[in-house]
Subunit: 306 residues, 2 copies
């Protein structure tokens, strides 16, 4: 099954009529993962048909208003829609204070648990059966984290012809082999999964930087990513301003993606000063050809690897 | 000059694709007055071309998230736009805690003063040269206030012919009379403003209820209003639910407007359950003919009275 990446907000700091504040959702068949939660995320979800009820975790890169002010309203709306499924929220120290104080001063009740985890160190933030979220400190004006969504390696391709040649009949035994179990045939012969299947297939990897200027550990952190979603607030002519404000330019984002050996780069967190941000894309493509400019409601599909 | 009333958000509790969360702006030639400040108000202001720099006061009816969660982001964006002019914010006790805790947990700096006044009693909330804002407790699930925007009476119409007939030449003396001063002519005769001007003309009056079920003191509070903007969350078939939740139906809103002798009624805070809210308007019109259904970006002009 494909993984669908939905851009709900692609502006930086200040929204525009075309770009809402930052948020990206990664949708897998059974659950969804939100990265940043800018103001107005609710209506963006409605328009993009992103579910309010599905299993969901939210990851906040840093505690600047444009990245988190959509969260109280989103939780409140989920409660008004009678959500029962818990929501896990991860982010820097201070996130809990923010959510608790808004909940208390605005007296809102919830119909489901909100489980807040503040990030205390780099590494694995959470782990599910098929996916792991890993974090790395990025380099912004305040404590800030990049996130990598990493799908676990999947079993290799199954070759029916090999199974039949070894005398394994279709049916239950095939399922066992595909599930990683050895099977013993009627004649006592043992067939191992490796006899009928290809090597393990790598999982997909998506890296979301949040706000950051380039940082050295990025190449290793994002190594081999299928998709890097990178801060691209200012064009190359404003490299000094970008460094001062803790942001990146197209060339810097492209260099980061290239150093990581990423397959695709999406430029996001676009400053309101670019009503047409085509310039940013042009600049990035000079260094990293497979770049796209994120737009609100843009969707990228990451197909299952063979 | 006309007063322009701009509906920035007309939904209740949960936004929809067509209706953002509650906010109304009253624009006068020199300043603007915002009533409630729901999430996403910034982008609604951009679309409606409401200024981020003009002299402005914000009035919050009650501390439910849908009425106030747009405020931190709005203030932050104003700061990023380098606003210098102070903003005054008025609302129930708790508003200060909400604004202080969001500002502190999100570390945002401001380029202008935000002057927060918590409402401790009914009556005059603030007074400007030409306008007064008066408040009255409404009847919702939490402490909640309705606001009346009241223009001060303006001097009566000036009649040039009467002035000339009394021997007052055009020029400085006319200005003095129009400004309310007596003038003494060369022959010692005294001319009073009342000799050359009609009676004082009443100012315009706009009442914004916020969330409320009908309450008895409303008729007096909203007496003679040019425009009443009233909670109309549920249709008449849900009168019991409306009472339980502290909201109003179209017939109730219409009865309130009628009892006040208002000139026009705008139904707002429309529940997301009405993708087409025509039914609400039909129900209100049976009791109060001059009703309109508020829509996002709808504008009403209140012309200067003669």
């Amino acid at each position: 099954m494909s993984i669908r990446v939905v851009f709900l907000g692609t502006s930086g700091s200040v929204p525009t009529l075309k770009r809402s504040l930052p948020s990206v959702v990664v949708q897998c068949p059974r659950d969804q993962w939100m990265f940043d939660c800018g103001e107005n995320v609710q209506r963006q979800m409605m328009q993009a048909k992103v579910s309010f009820h599905r299993k969901m975790k939210v990851f906040i890169t840093h505690l600047h208003g444009d990245h988190v002010l959509g969260l109280p309203g989103l939780l409140q709306t989920m409660a008004l829609m009678d959500r029962k499924e818990p929501v896990q929220v991860y982010g820097p120290v201070g996130l809990k204070d923010f959510l608790v104080c808004t909940k208390e001063t605005l007296n809102f009740g919830l119909t489901f648990p909100v489980e807040i985890s503040e990030i205390l160190s780099e590494g694995v933030v959470c782990e599910e059966e098929e996916y792991t979220i890993i974090t790395k400190k990025s380099n912004h004006a305040v404590e800030s984290y990049a996130f990598a969504f990493v799908e676990k390696p999947r079993p290799g391709k199954f070759y029916p012809k090999k199974a039949l040649a070894l005398g394994v009949a279709a049916g239950e035994l095939w399922s066992k082999l595909q599930g990683g179990e050895e099977v013993t045939l009627a004649d006592g012969k043992v067939v191992k999964p490796g006899d009928v299947m290809g090597p393990m297939r790598p999982g997909r990897k998506i890296v979301y930087t949040g706000d950051t200027k380039p940082f050295e550990s990025f190449a290793k952190f994002a190594e081999g990513a299928d998709l890097v979603i990178h801060d691209c607030t200012f064009d190359d002519s404003l490299t000094k301003k970008a460094a001062l404000d803790g942001h990146s330019t197209p060339t810097q984002a492209a260099q980061q993606a290239k150093a990581a050996g990423a397959k695709q780069l999406a430029l996001s967190h676009i400053s309101a000063r670019y009503p047409n941000a085509g310039l940013l894309l042009e600049q990035a493509k000079k260094t990293f050809a497979n770049s796209v400019l994120a737009e609100d409601f843009m969707e990228l599909e990451l197909p299952l690897s063979e």
